[in-house]
Subunit: 162 residues, 6 copies
Amino acid sequence: MRCIKIGEPNINSAFIPLNPTCYIRKGSEVDTPLSYYLFSHEEEHMEEGIIDKFQKQREELNRLVMEYAGQGTKRFYSLDSQAYREGALSCKTKELLGLVASFVLRCDDCIKYHIIRCFVEGVSDQELEEALLIGLVVGGTITIPHQRRAIQAWHELKQKDK
Amino acid sequence: MRCIKIGEPNINSAFIPLNPTCYIRKGSEVDTPLSYYLFSHEEEHMEEGIIDKFQKQREELNRLVMEYAGQGTKRFYSLDSQAYREGALSCKTKELLGLVASFVLRCDDCIKYHIIRCFVEGVSDQELEEALLIGLVVGGTITIPHQRRAIQAWHELKQKDK
Amino acid sequence: MRCIKIGEPNINSAFIPLNPTCYIRKGSEVDTPLSYYLFSHEEEHMEEGIIDKFQKQREELNRLVMEYAGQGTKRFYSLDSQAYREGALSCKTKELLGLVASFVLRCDDCIKYHIIRCFVEGVSDQELEEALLIGLVVGGTITIPHQRRAIQAWHELKQKDK
Amino acid sequence: MRCIKIGEPNINSAFIPLNPTCYIRKGSEVDTPLSYYLFSHEEEHMEEGIIDKFQKQREELNRLVMEYAGQGTKRFYSLDSQAYREGALSCKTKELLGLVASFVLRCDDCIKYHIIRCFVEGVSDQELEEALLIGLVVGGTITIPHQRRAIQAWHELKQKDK
Amino acid sequence: MRCIKIGEPNINSAFIPLNPTCYIRKGSEVDTPLSYYLFSHEEEHMEEGIIDKFQKQREELNRLVMEYAGQGTKRFYSLDSQAYREGALSCKTKELLGLVASFVLRCDDCIKYHIIRCFVEGVSDQELEEALLIGLVVGGTITIPHQRRAIQAWHELKQKDK
Amino acid sequence: MRCIKIGEPNINSAFIPLNPTCYIRKGSEVDTPLSYYLFSHEEEHMEEGIIDKFQKQREELNRLVMEYAGQGTKRFYSLDSQAYREGALSCKTKELLGLVASFVLRCDDCIKYHIIRCFVEGVSDQELEEALLIGLVVGGTITIPHQRRAIQAWHELKQKDK
C-alpha cells in the first residue's frame, strides 16, 4: 500500500492530507476520523527526507495560520478541500489537475503537496511523467527547476515505499 | 457525435486540432489524413460565434507563424502535439490538464483551444465544472473573467451540438 | 453622489457590485435588497462607454456561469464577496487592495471592476494615482497598458458623474 | 529605410517611440526634437492596420495617463526610457531584451511596442525568430497566442515597408 | 512601541526600512538621519529568527547591488521609496497595498519586507488578516505557502515585541 | 579565461553548460566531447560557494530527471539547448535574452544558470547591469530579491576568476 506516516491523528491540524482512498482535510466542514499509519515507526528513525521536512513544517505553520485565521480564511481552506473530493472526476485525476496547476504556477510547496497526494492516489511513474510533460510544455523551461524538485520528491516517496 | 466543422483537410495548417478520438496536429512529425466534417455545411451560414472566429483567426495566424518559423519553432509545435497524445493518461485527462494549466495561467486563447478539445473528447458539464473549480481555487478570483469566457465558449459548443 | 446605474434589481445576477456604501454581492449567502439607481435613465441613451459595456457583458456571463456552477463555485463567489465587506479595514481600503492586486496580476476585467468599486467608495484622483503608482513600481512597466485602461475607465466614470 | 509614420511631433505625448537610430521617449528628462515622417501620407488612406490602431490608441491613452500622473509616475516613465538608451549594449540588443521580457510575461501591447522598436532598429527576420524561440522555450506554449500576434504585427510592418 | 533593531545607522545601506513613523529609505534622494534602536541590545543574543536573518542578508546584498548599480538602478530604488511615502494615502495603507501586491505575486522576500513595515506602521492582527484574505481570494491557494510564511514572520515580530 | 570547473566529463549528465565558446548541452541530439577544466583542482578545496552548490545540485537532479524522462521530456531539453546555439544572434546575446526572460519570470535557478553562462560568454559588468535594469524596469520591484541573488552569484564568479 502506498502511504506515508503522518503522525498521530492531529485534532488541531488544518489539513490531514494523506488519506489513501481520497483527499481529506480537517477544516470547519470535514471532520474525518483518521487512524492509519502510513509508514512504520521504524522509518521514523531514518534520516529526515524532504517529504518529512515539508510535512512537518507545513503542519506546524498551518496550526499558526489557523490561530490568526478569521472565518473567511477558514472557509477558503475548507473550499480548497472540497474542490479535490471525488466527484464526476476521480480523486486521482483531480490531484493530477492540482499538480499541473501548481507546476505551471511554479510553487514548490504546492507541487510537493500534490506529488504526495498523487503518490497516495496510486499515480504511476508514467502517468506522472506524462502529466509533468504537459506542465513542462505549457509552462516552458522556466518550470524545469520545479520539475527537478518534483521528481526528487517523487523519487524519495518511491524509495520509502519499497 | 460531438464534433466541430474545421473545413477541408488543410495541408498547410500547423494544427488540425479536432480529431474526435484523439489529439492530432499536423506538424513535422504527425501527418494524419483528416476527412471528417464536424458541423454540417448548413451551420456555416449561422451567425459566426466566438468558436468559429477563434478557429479561423488561429488557423490563419498559425499559417503566418509557420512562414517565419525556423526548425526550433517547428519542433516546439510538434512537441506540443506529442504531449497530448494518448498514453498512460487518456487524451481526455490530458486535455483537462491542458485546460487547467491554461486556466491558471490565464490565457484566453489557450483556454478556448482546450475547451474545444475537451468538448470533442466528450468531457461532461460536471467534469468541466469540477476541473474549472480546481483552476478557480488554485488560481483565485483573478481567473474569474477567464472562467466566464470559458463557460461562454463551452455553452456555444453545446448549443451548436444540439 | 457617485453612483452608476446598474439596472433593475436582478434576482438572478450573481453580483450586484455597486452599492455605494459597501461592497455587496448577491450570492448564496448575501441577499441584499437593492433599490437605488445609480445613473438616470436619460444617460442610458448616451453612447455606450467601456464601463457600460463591461457591466453588461459581465452580468450576462455571470448568469451563464451560475447556470453551470456547482456548490463549490458558488461558495467561492460568495467568499469573494465576504472578503471585501467592511471590517477592521474599510470597504474603501479593501477595494484599493483589490485594485492593486488585480493591477499587478494584470487582469483588465478585474481592474475595471475594482476601478468602479473604488469610484463608488469615493476614492479621490490622488488616492487612485498613489495606489496605482505602487502597482506600477511593484509590477513594472509590463503593467503600463493596464494602467492606461484603468485611467481610461476612471476618466469615463468621472465624465459620467459630472 | 525602416520607419513608421507617427504623426506630427507631439509635444504632449509621453512617448515618441520610433526614432530610427535609438530609443527616444519624451518624458520629464528627454526632450528630443522629432522631425521625420516614417510612412508617407498616402499610406494613411490605406485600411488601418493593427500597428496604426495600436499606435493611435496608445498615444491617446498616454495623454490621458499623463493628465492624472503624479511625479512618481512621470519619473517611472522617464526611467523606462532611460533603460533602453544606447550604452554598453546597443539599442537593438536592448529592444530584443525588452521584447523577450514582454513576450514571456505575455503582454500583447508591450510585445507590439517592442516589435515596432525592433523593426525600426533593423532586426532581421531570422534574429526575430531566434529571439522569439528563446521566449517560446522559456515561456512555453502559453506564449503561442502572443507569438501569433507578434508575427502578425511584424508581418504588417514588413508589408508596409516594401 | 513597535519597532525592530536594525543596527547602527548605516550610511551605505540602500534601504533603512524601519522608521516607525513613516517609510524611509536612503537612496540618492532621501537622506534621513536615523537614530533609533528598535530592539534592545539584549535581544541580539537571542536565537536569530527569520526576521533578523532576512534583514541581515537583505542589507548585505543591497550593499553589493549598489556596488554594481548604475544610475538607472539607483533611480529605480529611489522611486520605490518615493511610492510609499505618506501622501493622500497613509503610510499604513500604502504598506498594506505593497503587502497584498507582493502576496499575490508570491515573492517571499517582498512579503517579509512589507510584513515588517506593516508591523512598524501599527497594523493590527485583524487588519493583517483581512488584507491577506483579499490576497488569498484574489491569488488563490497557490498563495497559501506564502501566507504561512507571512504569518510566521508576523508571529515572530509579535513575540519579539512583547 | 573565464571559466568554471564543472568536474569530469559526465556522460550521463543532461547538461554540460559551461563550454566557454558556446552553449553546449548533452542531450539526445548534442554529444560534444568535453575536456576542459574551468577552475583548478585547488579551488575545489575552498569553501563551497553558491555557484558550486547550485551546479552540483542541478547536475545531480538532472540525472534523476533523466531516469524518469520519456521521449517528450528529452526532446524538450534538447530543444532548450538548440534555442541558445549561435545563429543570427550570438551566444552572448542569446544568454542575455535567457537571463532577462528568467529574471522577469523570477526563477532563481534559471537566473543563476544564465548568470554563469553570461559570465562564460564574456559579458561585462556594465552589460550585465544594463540587461538587469531592463529586467528590473519591465518586471518591477518584485524582481529586486532576484536581482540581489543574481548580483551575488555574479560577484562570486568574479571573485573566483581573479
